[in-house]
Assembly symmetry: C2
Homo-oligomer: 551 residues x 2
């Protein structure tokens, strides 16, 4: 049996595009002699379709797409992922299942429903889907396939998040191969975990395993592909490329031996975290613009490292000609801010404009003079600068159809070191899941073949430049310390006592954790953040705003 | 057995305050001869504690609070709600249970875990909690109590969201009374549904039922109290007050006869939707400020109805002396805008300031002149006005410690008729779940005893006044039509075809639904919205941003 693994980029709710892509791939695979083409979890609707799943019409359109695909599915079989109505709804439970259709001879031969529904971090599957409790293998061309959906293989011995394991039931039916369709999002450490867990499954059940993941970004969630093939010893037969669409072919014989049709690179060098983050962010930016129908990005370029890195990433993702960098100096901007920004614009070849904001902040201060009379300069005047910049950038968006890129990093977003409705604005946050120390690594990586980001933007002490001689280090611990404390709190959910026990200064730890919690109201109103870590701010981290714990 | 029902207002993560309040109530009830005091679901932590529940320290602090309460719980028993570790975690499942402790003689005698975990709309319980599958009654003072938690009684015959029903197991153990502890949020139509479902339970199981709800707001979610007592025929014995803290006493004899100790008002006149919304919003505003430690609100007063209603509500909730109304006329503001706003300020007795924004928008237009040269006035200049106002208001927040109240209504929020980082700013949105037609009703209700909101603000055609002679009706259908279409789409999740079939103009319906979907990116960045309907924007409605369906 020749199996084609289709690692494709879908678009949520874009039935025409998703269906056409699936049918095209089916036709290509048939021409290449494939017996079975495997598509990813929920490829029909895109993932996550969220509350669109609550619309009966949306579910109906999914089924219509499936029927179109079925009609095109002759002389070849396919597996697609689709939300389907729960047929036992009258006995209780959610309205839907997260399903796989096994289609052959122009019709749906088997419907397999997902049993283990992730409902943590960015996942909300139990919001929509009823878990399946009965399992049957798929028989096709002399093979018996144990077909499961993503998390169904993830109930590990070490961290059993569920009380059942579908493969423990399916294995009793003596399948000779496992196929798993997935929508498994990217995080810089997730590929290794994924490989380990899938390999364990292949070994435990003594079966070859074909695993197809989605690729492409859906707003903040990035799917990295990296579909996998294992033999029945758990040895990796192939690891498909990351961050791009691929259609690969594998022959499976009756002795469970797998022969790839294209060259494979086994045991390749793992990419570094930063290499992965770089590719993930490029895909995230590209798909955000492409899928929302926009082409042109705008951002404020301060001369600092964050906006420089965002500008370089945007230029690489969208083309320099589609990036507008706006220099917005105030009276507190230092001379090198301008020259560093200008150097970057020259290195990238992107568009730029310079808009002085002094006359604007002066106008605000004059208008507010009766109210502010006699009161000292404080955060009100600091934020006026950041907010004036945002208004200028948004005016250019409204005039020319740009999308504003947010340039805040994860360290700032964590401690609330940013101005709401000021530098926290944007359509999408590029670095909101990248700690400041990682931003430096990313800058150096971007410069790996020669200086793109000016060295001065990398080496100068970070500053918001909202008052004279301001430095980030005036009010924050050094970023090495800050980022480690944040990692222990945000990613690892340690308490202040536990972090202090790791050797950090008590006052610093308490202050940082309090800053994180009191900034919830700011983060609530910030743009979606491209997720590259196992715990990003946004949908994956849901905190009370008016709460007392640690604030 | 004398049962005290404690309908109290908790604060998420404020262990000191919640624990002290519970112990004080326990002492009062003991002095009044109560045998058992019933507190609400998750009263120890507050509800919803969201991802605080993922911190081991947080769960430990919950248990410490429970131990303090247990130590104070002598010569009286109590039921409290608390998150507890899942003791069968090694066999799989979530880390926690949503539990009730039955405490007597200074110790925890029974632990009851919730089985039916709401995971729809604003609820995320399966994110944290493992559902219970085994059930045991509580024996106390000759009574056998079927103790359940909120949703455990909500698996109705008509809409069975779950595949099991805990009471069907418990009833086999021959209990003589049901107690249900809840955290059931307010929506203007939810009280009647709650009464019907609980009455059905009492009747079906032929048992008296004591039901204790939380009261008080936690950011956007408002708990309305309205705790209930039913006899074993399903007849209501008492309906406790809405939107306030109450401690009531009931004697239950061996024949299941319930005697309230305080006067009850049976079959009282139901409140209208608008009366309920009015009280809910007052509580929502009050608790948002009180629980976040702020006293003073600020808002932009346009002379229109939305900001007038928000101003009146804020003055009633916080005291007029704690409300600052800022008039921010531009060159497109009409004369009556100022006088209507001034009339309202006078009627309420709140503080006010006037800040002209013309010099500010002029400064922006001058600074952007090189970029905008030769291009016609459009939405860029319109939004400059809204954003300049927001910057002024936020500067006053930063200078004086105000919280900005957002004044957008649900109709505007739905169709994206508002300026991101402009009039869509604020710490909390007061009317974001109140349709424009309901805002008019609310205004008339506020004026029920005499004019507070100037009649002119109510009767004049709505306008954003961002260009000459602008009217909402230039770009939107009339609000009666718009709100009905929105209700069918947002609340009832009908498709465009289904709404058109109700008799609405096809082009209008398609346009409105497209506006709703393309405004997702704006709503993502708006403040939390006080939830008063069964489907509010925010946590309870989760939509893809970059999706294609209907956009």
């Amino acid at each position: 049996m020749k199996i084609a693994l289709a690692q494709l980029n879908y678009h949520i709710g874009n039935f025409d595009s998703n269906t056409a892509k699936i049918i095209d791939t089916l036709n290509t695979a048939r021409q290449n002699g494939a017996d079975l083409v495997v598509f990813a979890e929920l490829c029909i609707s895109g993932y996550p379709a969220r509350d669109f799943l609550e619309f009966r019409e949306f579910i109906g359109l999914c089924e219509q797409s499936a029927q179109k695909i079925a009609a095109a599915c002759t002389d070849v079989a396919c597996i697609i992922g689709i939300p389907t109505p729960n047929k036992k709804k009258s006995k209780g439970g959610k309205d839907l299942h997260n399903s796989a259709y096994f289609i052959a001879d122009g019709e749906v031969k088997y419907v397999v429903n997902k049993a283990l529904l992730p409902n943590y971090d960015v996942f909300d599957e139990y919001r929509y889907f009823e878990p399946e409790t009965e399992f049957t293998c798929v028989d096709y061309k002399g093979h018996r396939i144990a077909l499961t959906i993503c998390e169904d293989l993830w109930n590990t011995i070490e961290n059993p998040l569920y009380i059942s394991r579908p493969m423990d039931v399916l294995i009793e039916q003596k399948p000779d191969v496992m196929i798993n369709i997935a929508a498994s999002p990217f995080a810089y450490n997730h590929d290794e975990e994924r490989i380990a867990i899938l390999s364990d499954n292949a070994k435990r059940y003594n079966l070859p395993l074909f695993y197809v993941n989605q690729v492409g970004a859906q707003t903040e969630i990035i799917f990295d592909g990296g579909s996998l093939v294992f033999d029945n010893k758990g040895e990796m037969v192939d690891e498909m490329p990351y961050f791009k669409e691929v259609l690969n072919y594998y022959n499976l014989n009756d002795d469970a031996i797998i022969t790839p049709e294209q060259p494979v690179t086994l045991m390749r060098q793992r990419q570094t975290d930063i290499e992965q983050i770089h590719q993930g962010l490029l895909l995230g930016i590209r798909d955000y613009f492409y899928k929302s129908g926009f082409k042109q990005a705008i951002l404020g370029l301060s001369g600092g490292i964050d906006s420089a890195v965002v500008c370089a990433l945007a230029a690489e993702a969208l083309g320099a000609q589609n990036v507008m960098a706006v220099l917005l100096p105030s009276k507190y901007s230092t001379g090198h801010s301008i020259t560093d920004a200008e150097d970057l614009v020259r290195n990238l070849g992107c568009k730029s404009e310079l808009v002085e904001i002094k006359s604007i902040t002066d106008a605000f201060e004059t208008a507010l003079q009766p109210q502010f009379e006699g009161l000292p300069f404080n955060i009100a005047e600091e934020n006026l600068q950041a907010r004036s910049r945002a208004v200028v950038l948004m005016a250019m968006c409204n005039k020319f159809g740009y999308i504003l890129l947010n340039t805040s990093n994860k360290s700032e977003a964590a401690v609330g070191y940013g101005t709401l409705y000021g530098d926290m604005c944007g359509g999408i946050s590029v670095l909101g899941d990248v700690y400041k120390t990682q931003v430096y690594q990313l800058a150096n990586y971007i410069n790996r073949n020669g200086e793109i980001i000016p060295q001065n933007s990398i080496v100068k002490p970070p500053s918001a430049e909202l008052r004279p001689d301001q430095k980030d280090s005036d009010s924050l611990p050094d970023y090495d310390t800050l980022d480690t404390i944040l990692m222990e709190y945000v990613e690892n959910r340690l308490s202040s006592a536990e972090i202090i026990a790791l050797g950090y200064d008590e006052a610093t730890v308490r202050r940082v954790l309090k800053l994180v919690n009191t900034a919830e109201h700011k983060r609530y109103q910030t743009p979606p953040i491209l997720r590259v870590s196992p715990k990003a701010f946004g949908m994956g981290r849901r905190m009370p705003i008016v709460g007392k714990y640690l604030s």
